[in-house]
Subunit: 384 residues, 2 copies
């Protein structure tokens, strides 16, 4: 049982200018904090979330079973990011469906839910909104900003947008941009959602339906890309769901194209169903698009080294050997870009079997690594 | 311009017993032949097709532009599989939508199209049907059976089901079974089709609609897995479809979640649209299920060596370094199973950038390899 936390919310008048040229006013950001801000405000750590996550990073909600935060194994009293020493902030991004202003909320301009009219937000926009929350909390400088996957992109973007406000960036299982294949998977998921008749051009709320078919497909694709081929084989292999006795006494198939035949099918369907019941379709479109767009090298003709010239933070970059969604090679691109600028960067490629999902899982070497990095920050840069 | 061919069809009274226990009667098989069968009938080569292909392996149809067979670069006069020396047979599998009896045809038992009631067919069933066609053509023994991907599975299965009828098997970019990840991708594609409201439980023909949404998604997923990450990056990278001038004079985004933004999205949508106009949804379900089911080691407790003990054919096995759908490691499993049985096997792993699709593409080393293998067969085992 972890510690009990209470989510908070802060209202902003705005307008917050967005990268697209649009802006958003009167928005709120959901967040949580763990630990205590010290007197000189030098111990704040901001945690940025990935696609399917929120401000609920650590702890549990009172009276709610299985309500552990998504990085509860990483963050808390005595954990690698030790909340006895750090003041950790989890924040929910704009456009999410978990508390901050998003497509399900009322668009003050139309009097109906934003739906597909919610402005397209980027990693850079999220970072600007996060900076606004830090301002409101009276935090000028972060001891560290950290995140995995899309969260790692936000951490990296912080060091470019607000170099003077970040002392350390911890970028895990991330990439400096998506590859064509990454974008392709996102696009298939989006098409599945958008072409679901229940999507209604993104204004399905008014029709009291959800594009569940599309969301299920999107999640199933996601799940495949989060795991390594090896770990899927180990967990599911070719095991059958409902083994029936064949005439020869051995396991035989059902011989059906629509029934669940293999365990892996059952697993995917279960996860697709569950996801489609709680995740908002418009949020899915927005977050995958933010992933597609992120590419700090773009403004420098594709030269990541040039893009990273303004960085002053120190970096810990971690990748996982079997992550084929954001492969170690992509992390090494960031490492190289930083080293070419003579920046301080520690890099570890963890030999883990779990694919992209590894960044959320317990792995002794991974956890020790993050622990010792934060120990070092606490010892050298944080006033006790 | 290639040579002109005419598709043929042969009717079978049946019944053909299927692995599921069901059977099919009064079916027809579409096929094509290239070259001449020699006097002692020793020069026949059977070509088995993969998911999205047919009996139209080589040549063109009279008066039809761009009607080249799917392996026209491999098979024809003077080509690696030289039809001046070999009598090559292309056959369309049962359940296909390209000519042989399939879900779109009339089910004699109900008087309406089979639709989703078409019996579930397996690789083994296809091979049995193919053997029936060879019987009808008066061909007892094949100089070679060959195929790529799912076609390679059929070639392998020939050597197990009819060891005495196959002298050589050429198994390209294939696997002894699908991995959990392979099955997972198939399952997502099937769910996209089956949950499309226009699928109507597989009897959409009667409703004069096609589950195009689902077929598009299925094809988009397929396309991603047929190509390597590298070749996608080289062909499309992060290039934008409609570059617009941003305020700073450089390319900027459209900032839309539904419009085509990147070239890769445009490519996927185009291929999804095209596919959904000509490929039958029920056929897609059947063929992906045949892939899922193939696993000759299953009846031997997962022991591929034991399964391959009955093989007498000689093998050429080819894999491609960047094929992540059917990786070289899967081909090496077959090689090992054959070597453990002291069978004659040649294996080549071609260093090609194109992923799984490489088996259909021109590559000098790949083509020379197949050419020299067939030259050797022609020189030593075929009566001129």
């Amino acid at each position: 049982m972890s510690f009990v936390v209470t989510p908070q919310s802060m209202q902003f008048a705005g307008p917050l200018g967005l990268r697209s040229g649009a802006s958003i006013s009167n928005y709120s950001l959901a967040f949580e904090t763990y630990g205590e801000l010290n007197a000189d405000r030098s111990n704040a750590v901001l945690v940025c979330h990935a696609l399917n996550a929120s401000h609920h990073v650590a702890g549990v909600y009172a009276g709610q079973e299985k309500s552990d935060g998504w990085w509860d194994n990483m963050i808390g009293p005595g954990k690698p990011v030790d909340t006895d020493r750090f003041f950790v902030i989890g924040i929910n991004n704009l456009g999410s469906c978990f508390g901050s202003t998003g497509p399900m909320h009322l668009n003050p301009e139309t009097g109906r839910a934003y739906g597909a009219d919610f402005p397209v937000v980027t990693v850079e926009d999220w970072v600007n909104a996060q900076a606004g929350l830090l301002d409101a909390l009276g935090i000028r400088t972060l001891a560290a900003v950290m995140g995995g996957s899309l969260g790692g992109m936000q951490a990296l973007s912080w060091t470019l947008q607000y170099p003077e406000r970040v002392r350390h960036a911890v970028v895990i299982a991330s990439a400096p941009s998506l590859t064509a294949q990454n974008i392709a998977f996102n696009e298939v998921a989006r098409r599945a959602i958008v072409t679901d008749p229940d999507f209604h051009g993104g204004h399905f709320y008014e029709h009291s339906v959800i594009p569940q078919r599309g969301l299920r497909i999107a999640r199933m694709i996601g799940h495949i890309t989060y795991q390594s081929d090896d770990v899927m084989n180990e967990k599911f292999g070719r095991a059958l769901r409902h083994a029936v006795e064949g005439t020869s006494g051995r396991q035989d198939f059902l011989y059906s194209t629509q029934e669940v035949e293999f365990q892996i099918e059952s697993y995917l369907r279960y996860n697709g169903d569950k996801f489609s019941e709680y995740f908002d379709a418009n949020t899915y479109l927005l977050i995958t698009r933010a992933l597609d767009y992120f590419d700090p090298a773009q403004a420098h003709g594709g030269d990541l080294r040039a893009a990273l010239a303004k960085v002053t933070a120190k970096f810990l970059i971690v990748s996982f050997s079997t992550d084929w969604r954001f492969s170690p090679a992509r992390s090494r691109e960031i490492v190289k870009g930083l080293l070419d600028n003579r920046r301080n960067v520690s890099y570890a490629e963890i030999d883990a079997p779990h694919g992209h999902d590894a960044f959320l899982l317990d792995d002794v070497r991974y956890m020790s690594l993050v622990r010792s990095y934060f120990d070092r920050i606490a010892a050298s840069e944080v006033t006790p």
